[in-house]
Assembly symmetry: C2
Homo-oligomer: 174 residues x 2
């Protein structure tokens, strides 16, 4: 029996919900019910919703960093591929939005600490792409790639058509 700490279970449940509903669409009770505890126990680990969601965005960033690895060790063109894989898995395996894409689109309605942490996620991706070795030609602006990936996720999910994700990554018209 794999024993996952309550804190991690809470973050897992909260991330799942936050990536479907955004900041305001889920409650402490929702998360507590998912885990099988009481909402007051969630407050014990994360006093406020702001704390919870900041931790969410922080863990999300750390996991992405771990998975992306050191950009300086990559083959030319591998950086964009690794970042794209992150988003492709969100769509095809997890069937969820990017946490920071969703939070970011609500930036005006987020507690400052959460907004700051979300911004740090984006900056991390941009820095990673900047640091990764460029393919000799046709390498894409980091902001362009990241924007495209966030948008492709929204598009493919809203139109319920995963192949739109790959369409959106292709350069030229069919």
């Amino acid at each position: 029996m794999i024993e996952t700490s309550a804190r991690e279970q809470i973050l897992d449940a909260a991330e799942k919900r936050a990536r479907m509903t955004g900041y305001h669409g889920f409650s402490f009770r929702d998360v507590a019910d998912d885990v099988g505890i009481k909402s007051s126990s969630v407050h014990y680990h994360f006093p406020t919703k702001s704390d919870l969601c900041e931790a969410l965005a922080r863990r999300y960033t750390v996991r992405a960093v771990d998975r992306l690895g050191d950009p300086r060790t990559l083959a030319p063109g591998e950086g964009p591929e690794r970042v794209a894989a992150l988003f492709r898995d969100a769509l095809l395996i997890e069937d969820r939005m990017c946490l920071c894409g969703l939070f970011g689109s609500q930036r005006d309605a987020l507690p400052t600490q959460v907004a700051t942490t979300v911004a740090a996620f984006f900056q991390m991706i941009l820095d990673y792409l900047d640091a990764a070795p460029k393919a000799s030609r046709g390498s894409q602006n980091p902001a362009a790639l990241l924007a495209r990936l966030e948008g492709a996720l929204i598009l493919a999910r809203t139109l319920n058509n995963p192949s739109l994700f790959e369409d959106a990554l292709r350069e030229t018209a069919a």
Copy 2:
């Protein structure tokens, strides 16, 4: 004195809020207070929140259609420019997210009618780009352009850097 109908005033206030917070982040009372009426009066015009937000997405789509015009009358390459202008104005003039970008990213948490209307917005843009005369070379996949614009909006707003929007629209790295 220009007399705007209560219905329109309600939609104006609701759109403003929805484009900051998403579906769950604003209430009938918020909207009512903005307009200067009671929340029950908002319910009179839009019985449920689902009705209100569906009307929001519908009006948003109609206004975009009006502004974009008939795609078949455009010069080559003008279609993408017109669509891009829509999003650029959202960022620089309105300082808001795209309503359907935000709603779309929450599609799992939306009433079906709202989700359907949001999907119709995206399909409309894709059809428009398909129907518009292509520039001879380097014309972009409609899905790619739309994804990029939605993502660029999120990115520029979250990082509080409007020039990222233009970066994201450029093809190649700096």
